[in-house]
Symmetry: C2
Subunit: 201 residues, 2 copies
Amino acid sequence: MTPDPFSAKVPDAGSAMVPVLAERWSPRGFDPSHVMDEPTLACLLEAAQWSPSASNSQPWRFLVTVRGTPEFDAVVRSLAGANQVWAPHASCLIVACRVMSDDRGGLLRWSAYDLGQAVACLTVQAESLGLSVHQMGGFSVEAIHEDFDLGASVEPLVVVAVGRFDPDADLPEDLRERESAPRDRRALSEIVVDGREALRS
Amino acid sequence: MTPDPFSAKVPDAGSAMVPVLAERWSPRGFDPSHVMDEPTLACLLEAAQWSPSASNSQPWRFLVTVRGTPEFDAVVRSLAGANQVWAPHASCLIVACRVMSDDRGGLLRWSAYDLGQAVACLTVQAESLGLSVHQMGGFSVEAIHEDFDLGASVEPLVVVAVGRFDPDADLPEDLRERESAPRDRRALSEIVVDGREALRS
């Protein structure tokens, strides 16, 4: 039996983590024949819509483009070079934007945090539908503002590629190696601060 | 049959949203007899640990306290008044912190965004284990820094209460009403920008 080249993506077989989180990773190999249909796209956006936010401020906007359209191509052109290699095969590119201030001009202090929550919910929904997500910080915010009419208080933070993972995708050698490389994270002991130990006496 | 007083919490019975997202909401009624055991707590933190982040920077720290300890009480004291009413019944309070800069002093531009993703993953894991989460922005960052040794580049952003929802929790009338109030969100049309329409010609 051939070992699964992507098995290194699952952190720990003994974990009690729910599969939709444990088996999630961010591929670059997307199937260019997969088409994002309207109900699926709506469901992904609903997952973001119902995410929690500070005082239910919902400080997010999602600029949505699907492959094969001028607006999708405009988002591709905004991407950093390496991302332009693989992202064009995603089924849709969603520019996740935060809203900096509310209707009365008040600063929305948790806007980036809340946008992150919303995209994480969208990702969970995508995974549960058998789709994959790869987020990119490498893009030109200026290019997005130049090409799209978003409004001044809307700041693009991340471009979210969604599509169907293709294990046989045609990728340059360096990107192909990263596809099957193990996922790694800091140990829990590095990111968890035990309140007992950190409490000043 | 008595109607479920919490049914208004589920956005739309016709939605294809996965239940762990559709049925999530942020209660204030927590069961003070529920104890957070170590394996469950570890699993919640693992879900955050394996969240995606910009260049895998993992710009997060989680200050963890469980009910019935001096460190839990210190976090409770940091909370804004209204939160002090209900949050003491949660099984644990986790102060979610972002790390502002990396080991070489470089600014971590997506730290708040990525922390939001990590807490959303923790929330999905909690929901899948039958637990509930209520996040609070209403707390004193200064009080947390005074009481806990966190380090200068670590900024507390949110206090995350996790516990078992108790529909019969003893809450003041105003908070009790909010428990069964419908969840509401802006329409998708308000938060989604159609790339076709927004593209400048």
